[in-house]
């Protein structure tokens, strides 16, 4: 039973102006993700995967075309409206983990809840539970520099889940960790999908993409 549409891109273009040169990173990309799906976007380096993730995740505006989240066009919203959407509806997992170095694992997971105004006691407890659920119950007070790559990515996953977003957006989540740990991270993400979370994962690794329900191939800024 296919769920409702969560993400829909319609003829999305992204053109970067580099001085005299125009780089067409996305050239009329269209695709849809339904609730509960696990979609992998696969493609070679430079094919526009990260740019696509920026569009889906409301991190940037498309040059042309529309991006729908829950059937609302978000491509023309203000920056502060987008911030709210990012905070509530989307959970990011990046290749470079992107944790704040000065904050502990617990505080990093609390951060998205801070921006949503969740009270200290509630968010601390939730952050602790999330870290326990990703297997880091013993590392709450560690700074990112005191954690291995795999552990940092687990913290990032816990952070991405903290506001219970509709979509988990992962951009090459195993790109910076060794393959054995990478498989564990993938298992974690696949498990989250089985529990109902909609997942969009970007990767250039075909073997990882196979874990998804559906694979979309990106080439030169559009689906192949």
């Amino acid at each position: 039973m296919p769920g409702k549409s969560v993400i829909r891109l319609e003829n999305v273009w992204k053109i970067y102006q580099m001085g005299e040169v125009k780089v067409e990173a996305l050239r009329g990309l269209s695709f849809e993700v339904s609730s509960g799906e696990f979609v992998a976007i696969e493609g070679p380096s430079g094919s526009g995967k990260s740019t696509a993730m920026n569009m889906i995740g409301a991190l940037d505006y498309p040059t042309k075309g529309s991006v729908y989240l829950d059937d609302h066009d978000i491509s023309r919203l203000s920056e502060s409206q987008l911030a709210v959407i990012r905070g509530r509806k989307i959970g990011f997992v990046f290749q470079q983990f992107n944790l704040l170095a000065n904050l502990s694992a617990l505080e990093n997971v609390e951060l998205p809840m801070m921006f949503q105004g969740v009270a200290v006691s509630a968010r601390r407890e939730r952050a602790r539970q999330l870290l326990v659920s990703v297997g880091l119950g013993e590392r709450l007070m560690h700074k990112p520099s005191e954690l291995s790559g795999g552990q940092q990515q687990r913290v990032a996953i816990a952070r991405a889940l903290s506001n219970d977003p509709e979509v988990l957006l992962a951009d090459e989540p195993t790109g910076n960790i060794d393959s054995r740990t990478g498989r564990e991270i993938m298992k974690l993400i696949a498990g989250l999908n089985r529990q109902g979370k909609t997942v969009v994962m970007i990767t250039h690794d075909r073997s990882l993409a196979k874990l998804a329900d559906r694979i979309e191939h990106l080439k030169d800024g559009r689906l192949a």
């Binding site: 920056e79 502060s80 911030a83 990011f92 992107n98």
Partner: protein, 394 residues
């Protein structure tokens, strides 16, 4: 995001860049300390001078020869006829004519130069009282004999050995006996005075006519300005208008206030410049802080921070640097102000009582936080307007 959360994030960040944060704070500390110390010292000086005048009395009018450049009284261009003219004005309850001269004073074979002040022995008791000269030992001379009253510095510091009531001095080779020692009035010049009966002084210096300075104490209820005008009119009959000055305490305070105002302006300017330098330091530190944290800004935006929340974090960081710098600066400034007071007292200017105005502290603190926030404003705006996708690429 609550203010408390902002502060937590800011604290984590500034403690991460501890050394640089402290260096920035020091810039503010210097500026605020300079403001507190310089403004307090000059305001205290003004208040102290005001107090001295009030102690001297708001009921006195001074008459001296129009200055030819030196301090009032030293030209000795007045004479006994002028004193008589002043006495004709009926509004005075007491008129004291004074003569100042410098003389060679010897004690136990040690010669020094000192200032001698003479006034009528018949009104010596009132005169010492009106000038707020309290005796710590002995009392005033009461007849025209070779007796002197000395200032505290003459007794304690001027000679190698200590002087007491009964000590014998030689002034211009004549013998004098110390009958009284007055307490310090707080300024070294007055504390170095030697007072003697005017008649004796005139004989000693062979000067029967000169008068350096005349002070009139008006009767209660008189209008100082009117009395001053009447005095000037009386004097104008026997000498030219330009050759003398009649001044009320208000006028003297006004003149001093102008000078003090200029001094305060200069000092405040110095303080403001140092604070400006401090604010440039904050702005610079905030810009590098923004540059260093472009990626962090991207991360915070990705997890839901709005532009306003990012700007607030940086503004709070800048304001906090201002606040900490302000608090430390105030503490240092108060310390320095008291040190200035202490140094002045050591130099004999005990009149300079340092007082710190609570309003100045409050103002400095608000100013420091304001300067911090203002210096952080543009860096904060820059930080907040970064697009998350661009910030994350850094």
């Amino acid at each position: 995001m609550s203010l408390k959360d902002d502060v937590v994030i800011v604290l984590r960040n500034v403690s991460h860049r501890r050394l640089r944060s402290w260096l920035t704070v020091i810039g503010v500390v210097i500026g605020v300390a300079a403001i507190i110390a310089l403004v307090s010292a000059s305001r205290s000086l003004e208040a102290s001078i005001q107090e001295q005048f009030e102690a001297f009395g708001s009921d006195k009018i001074s008459i001296y020869a129009a200055s030819s450049g030196g301090p009032p009284g030293f030209d000795a261009n007045l004479n006994v006829d002028d004193a008589d003219a002043v006495r004709k004005v009926k509004d005075y309850g007491l008129v004291v004519e004074m003569l100042f001269k410098s003389a060679k004073v010897e004690f136990r074979g040690e010669p020094v130069n000192a200032l001698i002040s003479g006034f009528d022995s018949g009104i010596a008791v009132e005169t010492f009282k009106e000038f707020n000269l309290d005796f710590r030992e002995g009392g005033p001379f009461e007849s025209d004999s070779n007796k002197v009253v000395i200032g505290s510095r003459v007794a304690d510091d001027l000679f190698d050995s200590q002087l007491f009531v009964g000590s014998k001095l030689e002034i211009n080779s004549e013998k004098f006996e110390v009958v009284g020692i007055v307490e310090s009035v707080g300024n070294p010049q007055d504390d170095s005075n030697i007072y003697m009966p005017l008649e004796v002084m005139r004989d000693l210096f062979g000067d029967r006519t000169s008068v350096s300075f005349i002070v009139g104490k008006v009767k209660p209820g008189s209008d100082l300005n009117k009395v001053s005008a009447r005095t000037a009119a009386e004097l104008s009959r026997i000498r030219s208008e330009e050759s003398f000055e009649v001044s009320t305490p208000e006028q003297l305070i006004e003149q001093l206030s102008i000078i003090l105002g200029i001094l305060q302006g200069v000092l405040a300017g110095i303080a403001a410049i140092s604070l400006l330098v401090g604010s440039v330091g904050i702005a610079n530190s905030m810009y590098t802080s923004v540059l260093e944290r472009i990626r962090d800004i991207g991360i915070m935006k990705a997890v839901g921070a709005t532009n306003a929340e990012i700007a607030m974090i940086f503004l709070i960081e800048a304001g906090l640097i201002g606040l900490v710098g302000g608090i430390i600066g105030i503490a240092f400034g108060i310390g320095i102000a008291y040190l200035i007071g202490f140094a002045a007292a050591q130099a004999g200017f005990g009149v300079l009582k340092i007082r710190i105005e609570p309003l100045l502290i409050l103002f400095s603190l608000i100013f420091a936080v304001g300067v911090g926030a203002a210096s952080g404003y543009f860096p904060a705006r820059r930080a907040s307007s970064l697009k998350p996708a661009d910030a994350l690429r850094k």
